[in-house]
Point group: C2
Chain length 367, copies 2
């Protein structure tokens, strides 16, 4: 683990770089905004910890009404459970006896669930739960348009749910119906069309399950780009948004972008001004991953982060003065989730001062 | 830090995933091959630790004749120095008083150098070295075609070198002349043309420095894609290749690719076979960064890793049987450097058995 790049009380300009900066006012406003948006719908928030990887942030979400957390990985579930979170859903298949044993062990201290899309996964989860002497909650994942994981909606989902329900150490808890690709469709009507299909697939599956006597306490899915659609559906019961706490450059490119503020930044230092019309910062793609495009320079639209190598970011000065050598710039990450996972520490800032250092406790928790 | 995904003696199939696998036979063959290729040239190897981030690997390179290590970051230099490496060059500008103080402190236990491309950097390095009561070696970086850092070759470099030489706590040690972009030009003639220009720029600068009475014990640069050109130049004295120990899918796309074996893999597990004609593995772009393209599936040309989301890799089954649920696949990373930096452990394997677990000691060392 790397030493923290700052201490409480420092001015932001004193923070060593690259650093993962969290603007606490914007972050708290986002927490409040999500709670306010969901309150009238009656739909629950089960926030996704794949984004923040922090029991501290999970607790702040719980304090505003989140019923639990989602994770993608067993190792993330461990960090949350050991950090005091008591309701955790792995929104993913868990394959491998070692992973399943670790997950089942967590059921001693938390409500724990996972997803399945294959009968063999049901059998393996049952065996792990039985060995641990615990019960695991299981959601059947249906493919609602991503073409990735999940069985088809309708009868295949019902058949798999019946296997779950027939397993003595498993509890059939509902369906997982997440459409990840829809989050980043740019036009609102494209997102509405994609989520409309997801809603119909979920509705049909829930209805067919009900006909077989299987209730769905959880119909889970939705992300920061579409959650208002799922929340208004009358079908989804839990919203799994994660990025809303931070936002990023890619979500900001959505037309009618999500109603949240940018709270997450990578603070970088200008390390070279030797080239004509450029400056170079000390944050390349190791510091600010580019899978969803280049970062933006906050508050400086004339500065274009045009190229990321491992440890260098090349910034074109298209308008305004060139930043000085040693000047610190706030970068808006292209994609918040992998960016957070690069760092050991959040540096929480408010009104120009460092207020807190929170560990990114599940950094690298890929197992 | 995450727990290791394996124990010595395990079979490879038992390793938990995602895991960073190092094929020790191929890795050692690469170490030997580089030593053999450079021996007749008389040019020294100063291997780049930005790739491997490991004092263990640095020591193995030293045992085969490497004179020292390169790093990009002060935090990497610390990990190497505290791990026993005694000659370390930061092939990069170091900007910020805190970073410079940390680097100067290392000069108590190692030969330490850094690069400059601005007079203000020279003054700051001199101040830090004086405060520490140490001397730092300084290379002047020249831009040999990347358009990133570095002063122009010739008179601007000479002027900066004279400033260094006039600084009582700095030692002018030569020039840094690295052409990163040239490493991945596909055609050998393109690489030769780019490096030919770099060699001429370096030659001219060395000659002009000599006329001013400034010798260049180090003329450093070159990477895995071009090092034979620099080594044959009669100008470069140190080769800074890093990736040769591991290789990756991007280097393999070069025509007349570097003469090294693929030794680095990400081991992944098939976690879903629910979709038609696909399987999904538990390694997305958090586990195998895609900045230089998608990973390949080792030994399975009919399997196309076609899409990476945060924690999922979607593999199209174009030819041959679909892998079974739970089957483990070796992925060849698109780009070795950022992939290594995602992991806490190397899992060294030989003939199907885990032989060692080496920490990626400078994982996340971005400061």
């Amino acid at each position: 683990m790397q030493p923290p790049p700052a201490e409480p009380g420092m001015r932001e300009e004193e923070v060593d770089t690259p650093a993962l900066l969290l603007d606490l006012d914007a972050f708290e406003a986002n927490l409040d905004a999500m709670a306010a948006l969901l309150a009238p719908t009656g739909v629950r928030l089960r926030a996704h910890a794949k984004t923040h990887k922090s029991p501290v942030i999970a607790a702040l979400q719980a304090a505003r009404g989140a019923v639990g957390q989602c994770v993608q990985k067993v190792a993330e579930a461990e960090v949350l459970a050991w950090g005091g979170i008591r309701d955790i859903l792995v929104t993913n298949q868990v394959v491998g006896a070692r992973k399943l044993a670790r997950l089942a062990a967590l059921a001693a201290i938390a409500e724990v669930g996972l997803c399945v899309d294959d009968p063999a996964q049901v059998a393996a989860a049952e065996a792990a739960a039985e060995a641990a002497g615990r019960r695991l909650r299981v959601l059947v994942e249906i493919d609602v348009g991503m073409g990735r994981c999940g069985v088809p909606a309708g009868p295949p989902a019902v058949a798999l749910a019946q296997r779950v329900a027939a397993s003595p150490h498993l509890i059939f808890a509902g369906i997982q119906a997440y459409h990840g690709r829809a989050q980043h469709l740019r036009a609102p009507e494209e997102r509405a069309a994609a989520i409309g299909q997801a809603i119909e697939a979920a509705r049909r599956t829930v209805e067919q399950l009900r006909q077989q006597g299987l209730a769905c306490p959880i119909v889970g899915g939705a992300g920061t780009g579409t959650f208002l659609l799922e929340a208004a559906s009358g079908v989804y019961t839990e919203i799994q948004a994660g990025s809303y706490v931070f936002m990023d450059a890619d979500y900001a490119r959505n037309q009618e972008a999500p109603p949240f503020r940018q709270s997450l930044f990578v603070l970088a230092t200008v390390m070279s001004v030797a080239g004509d019309g450029i400056c170079v910062v000390d944050a390349g793609h190791k510091a600010v991953p580019t899978d969803s495009g280049m970062p933006l320079v906050a508050g400086r639209p004339g500065l274009i982060y045009a190229g990321a190598s491992d440890e260098h970011g090349k910034i074109l000065v298209q308008d305004g003065p060139r930043p000085a050598l040693g000047e610190k710039l706030r970068l808006i990450p292209g994609h918040c989730d992998p960016t957070v996972d690069r760092y050991d520490w959040y540096v929480g800032v408010r009104r120009g001062r460092v207020e807190c250092l929170w560990p990114v406790a599940a950094r690298g928790a890929m197992a």
